[in-house]
């Protein structure tokens, strides 16, 4: 009887631990496995966490007081906690990588300690139950502990992959390597470069958002082929030194900096740090390398670079776009006498295009040959991507908003005829400036939109403030809890027979 109860309690405990682990490791993954960020999240959400787990602590009472079958109700309590922590449908679901499995293994070993006590200590059930409940409630911190314990192994594995990538790259001495970085616009420029350079060359680019050191390592190890002639490597950064790390791996010969902005200010702490980090790319170029800089940006313009520089932009530079026209069908501009047309939306995309054209032209492709590929360019997913048709259009600008991009998206929205609806949770990771920048976004939105749907009660406070300040009628502001609900609301507004045009500005992942 005692054994049976003990066994039941243990099984319930392990099952509960499994779900708690799953939930918290998912958040950890979304936080890029950064302990500091995770601790911040735990602090933010401590009440809801405890509400869902603290009941386990009561398990010690039946285990101690109710004799032989006392462990049954203890097990039931664990099951209750399990049900309070079932996985919910997530925007970015958990990806069970090898790293997740390694964390799971270490966590599991730690979880076994209470079980050992329960089995072997004299009168161990009560003490075991107590320890089990501690383990369950303490899962968030246990995972951080497991992460620390695993650190030497993870570092070793990373090192192995990084060295493998270095070895592979050394076998490609002819490969032309172009680094692309910037606070925003780098993914767009990368994809444009892929299309344009493909007119003449076999091009490899880092896929999707693989712009970290390990993402680049994976691209080199899995996708690089002997037939490739050019490698366009997108380089992302959250901290000083991130770009240098990638440059030490790939050794780019050419570099492009697309923009400087207040992205990831929480980790960078200052714009000066952002500039310093992006320019780690320029500093890494060899003496015969070429640096391409967006001259519309003051910070990029003012920074001295020792290698040959090619400036581009809409205001000044070796490659300057003129006669720029934007409307709801796309963009048009003239570069060095050649007219370009594209289906892409957003004035800022002119800068991105000119940057890509500058690189392609410098690599020997005549501008005339680039007209056709520019016309064929499709929007990059979730970056002012036009979707829908007829009476219902959506400008999907869901990916990682930045202030300049958000304002550009509003400008684009303004170009469309119809009932204009803004759907947004506001911008994040802007550090101290976050409130100010969101308020400004609200003020600008008031000039363009007919309706505004804000996502997230807490998140949207500065937006509402900005809208109201600019005289936007309060009854046209709606607040929704999720993006899905917001879109439903947007679909419900009376457009007065006009076409419905919804701008989806920034869609935050689940850890917000």
């Amino acid at each position: 009887m005692r054994i049976a109860a003990l066994a039941v309690m243990t099984v319930c405990y392990l099952a509960c631990a499994f779900f708690l682990f799953r939930k918290h490791v998912h958040i950890f993954q979304l936080n890029s496995y950064k302990p500091e960020v995770q601790k911040g999240w735990i602090k933010e959400n401590i009440e809801s966490l405890l509400l869902r787990s603290v009941w386990a602590l009561a398990a010690v009472f039946p285990a101690r007081e109710l004799g032989d079958w006392g462990c049954f109700p203890a097990g039931v309590l664990f099951l209750v906690v399990l049900f309070l922590n079932l996985p919910k449908k997530a925007k970015k679901p958990l990806v069970v990588t090898a790293r997740v499995k390694r964390l799971g293994a270490t966590y599991f070993i730690l979880c076994l300690i209470p079980v050992l006590f329960a089995l072997f200590a004299p009168e161990g059930e009560a003490f075991g139950a107590l320890l089990m409940s501690f383990a369950l409630v303490g899962t968030p911190w246990l995972i951080l502990g497991a992460n620390s314990l695993n650190r030497p192994v993870e570092k070793g594995i990373d090192r192995h992959y990084i060295n493998d990538a270095k070895r592979i790259l050394s076998r490609y001495p002819e490969l032309k390597i172009i680094g692309v970085t910037g606070s925003y616009g780098k993914t767009s420029v990368k994809f444009f470069l892929e299309k344009l350079l493909s007119v003449e060359y076999n091009v490899l680019v880092t896929p999707k958002n693989y712009n970290t050191t390990l993402g680049v390592v994976r691209t080199v190890r899995e996708n690089l082929r002997p037939t490739h002639e050019v490698f366009v490597c997108e380089m992302g950064a959250r901290n000083v030194g991130d770009i240098k790390e990638i440059c030490d791996l790939v050794h780019p010969q050419w570099g492009v900096i697309t923009a400087i902005g207040p992205q990831h200010l929480e980790s960078f702490r200052s714009i000066a740090n952002v500039v310093k980090t992006k320019f780690e790319l320029a500093d890494a170029l060899p003496p015969d390398g070429v640096f391409f800089g967006n001259m519309d940006s003051e910070e990029i313009r003012n920074r001295k670079v020792s290698v040959q520089t090619v400036g581009y932009g809409t205001l000044r530079g070796d490659y300057r776009a003129e006669d720029i026209r934007c409307d709801e069908h796309g963009l048009r501009f003239t570069l060095r006498g050649v007219e370009f047309e594209t289906k892409l939306l957003g004035r800022h995309n002119v800068q991105n295009l000119v940057g890509a054209l500058a690189v392609a032209n410098t690599l020997g492709i005549p501008l005339e040959k680039l007209k056709a590929p520019v016309r064929q360019l499709q929007s990059v997913e979730h970056r002012q991507q036009l979707r829908g048709s007829g009476d219902r259009l959506i400008i999907d600008d869901a990916y990682n908003s930045n202030p300049a991009g958000a304002l550009a998206a509003l400008e684009t929205l303004g170009l469309f005829e119809g009932c204009k609806i803004l759907v947004t949770p506001g911008m994040v990771e802007l550090g101290e400036k976050q409130t100010e920048l969101n308020t400004e976004l609200g003020r600008q939105a008031a000039k363009v939109c007919d309706y505004a749907v804000l996502v997230g009660k807490k998140q949207s406070v500065p937006l509402r403030a900005g809208l109201t300040e600019a005289g936007f009628p309060a009854e046209k502001i709606t607040v929704a809890d999720t993006v899905e609900a917001a879109i439903r609301a947007a679909d419900g507004f009376d457009t007065g027979g006009r076409r419905r045009v919804i701008l989806l500005e920034n869609d935050l992942p689940d850890n917000y």
Binding site: Y172, K195, S198, N202, V203, N223, R225, P226, T227, Q376
Partner: protein
């Protein structure tokens, strides 16, 4: 890192042996600094073999012995690469001999040059040198290509197409009416002048038809040019840009150039010319024609190449009336014997350079194809309810 090229040759074709010769010539000429070439021999039984012996021409004197020394393999797509897997006694082994970056077919004739092998590479998903499926298929259809040449405004001889089941008398009547004698009878979809006959009068027709129909179900009857001179010109490139080679004039043994002439003799009864393939045939290179004639041939060749949307290297064969000097586009060879390398040497394009350009073109076509949307998720399967009257295209 060297690019790994899978050199495919042989196949279940009448010109199987010629293809072996062409391919092994090519094998010797690849730039070994840039390319790792793996020779893959396709037997008449449609099995793939590789190994060191497969790359040596002497070994083909005794093919059964060669196959015992060679390794049987199977190309397999894995992830985004095509692996060459060895076939052991118990089936495919899991450790690949090589991963191919590009396929290079050097094949002649039906089942291989006509788009079949090209289609196989498309299905496998590997870039391949030479013309694409459509170009290769039309290049082997003597009648269909005529229509495209004519539509492009190129000079062609009037012709009629016949199937084996049709009435012979009707065929003879139509030929007499529309074409007149002398005429040429030949199978529609073979290469290398197999089964081709000059018919000077109606009496000679039945035997000529019998011979042609013994090779194929479909034949072509075409007005003969007399007196005849033949001119060949090769083209290298694709639809965007292409260059024409030097012109040659193949010299005939019989009244028309036959298979025997091309591959079995360098002269009367001589056997040695044969193993050199097209390059061993007696030829006048450069062709003894005026500069204007040469330019005209080159221009027509480029236009014919473009009309069929070809790629890589192709040889366009012309017929010329020796008296009037009028030129006619005869037919194209989308994979010419010896890859027509001998036509390029005098223009400064070495064999190695020719092969390198063909690989470049293959990779260029692949990247272009990769940049287009090839699938749209319409959700048809999600909403499919069997038993609907309208079908799925709606």
């Amino acid at each position: 890192m060297k690019i790994t090229v899978g050199l495919f040759f042989g196949g279940r074709s009448v010109e199987h042996e010629v293809s072996v010769i062409s391919a092994l010539q090519a094998l010797k000429s690849f730039d070994k600094e840039k390319y790792d070439v793996l020779p893959i021999y396709i037997t008449r039984e449609q099995q793939f073999f590789t190994g060191e012996a497969v790359g040596k021409i002497e070994e083909y004197r005794d093919i059964p012995a060669l196959l015992k020394k060679a390794t049987r393999v199977q190309p397999l797509r894995e992830g985004d690469r095509v692996l060459v897997l060895p076939y052991g006694r118990f089936g495919l082994k899991s450790k690949a001999l090589a991963a191919l970056d590009v396929a290079f077919p050097v094949v002649h004739g039906t089942n291989v040059e006509d788009g079949a092998l090209q289609g196989y590479f498309r299905t496998l998903g590997i870039p391949f040198a030479g013309s694409d499926v459509a170009g290769s298929a039309i290049g082997m259809d003597k009648y269909a290509q005529k229509l495209l040449y004519a539509a492009a405004g190129l000079p062609v001889l009037p012709a009629l197409r016949f199937r084996a089941g049709e009435e012979r008398e009707e065929m003879a009547r139509r030929m007499e009416e529309k074409l007149g004698f002398p005429l040429i009878v030949k199978p529609l979809d073979l290469g290398s002048s197999v089964g081709i006959r000059l018919v000077k009068s109606p009496e000679e027709l039945p035997e000529a038809l019998d011979e042609a129909f013994s090779f194929s179900d479909r034949i072509l009857a075409e007005k003969a040019v007399q007196p005849l001179r033949e001119l060949n010109c090769a083209v290298l490139g694709d639809a965007d840009e292409a260059i024409a080679s030097e012109c040659e004039e193949p010299v005939m043994g019989d009244e028309i150039l036959s298979y025997r002439d091309k591959y079995e003799g360098g002269g009367k009864g001589a056997k040695t010319g044969g193993s050199k393939g097209m390059s061993g045939l007696k030829r006048l290179l450069p062709a003894p024609i005026s500069r204007e004639m040469r330019e005209e041939v080159q221009e027509l060749a480029l236009r014919a190449f473009r009309a069929l949307d070809l790629s890589g290297v192709a040889r366009i064969d012309f017929l010329m009336n020796a008296e009037t000097g009028k030129l006619y586009v005869n037919e194209v060879n989308t994979c010419p014997g010896s890859l027509a390398f001998y036509l390029w040497e005098s223009t400064g394009v070495s064999y190695a350079k020719l092969l390198d350009k063909m690989v470049s073109l293959a990779l260029k076509r692949e990247r272009r194809r990769g940049s287009f949307l090839s699938a749209i998720d319409t959700g048809i399967l999600k909403n499919y309810a069997p038993g609907g009257v309208k079908g799925t295209k709606g």
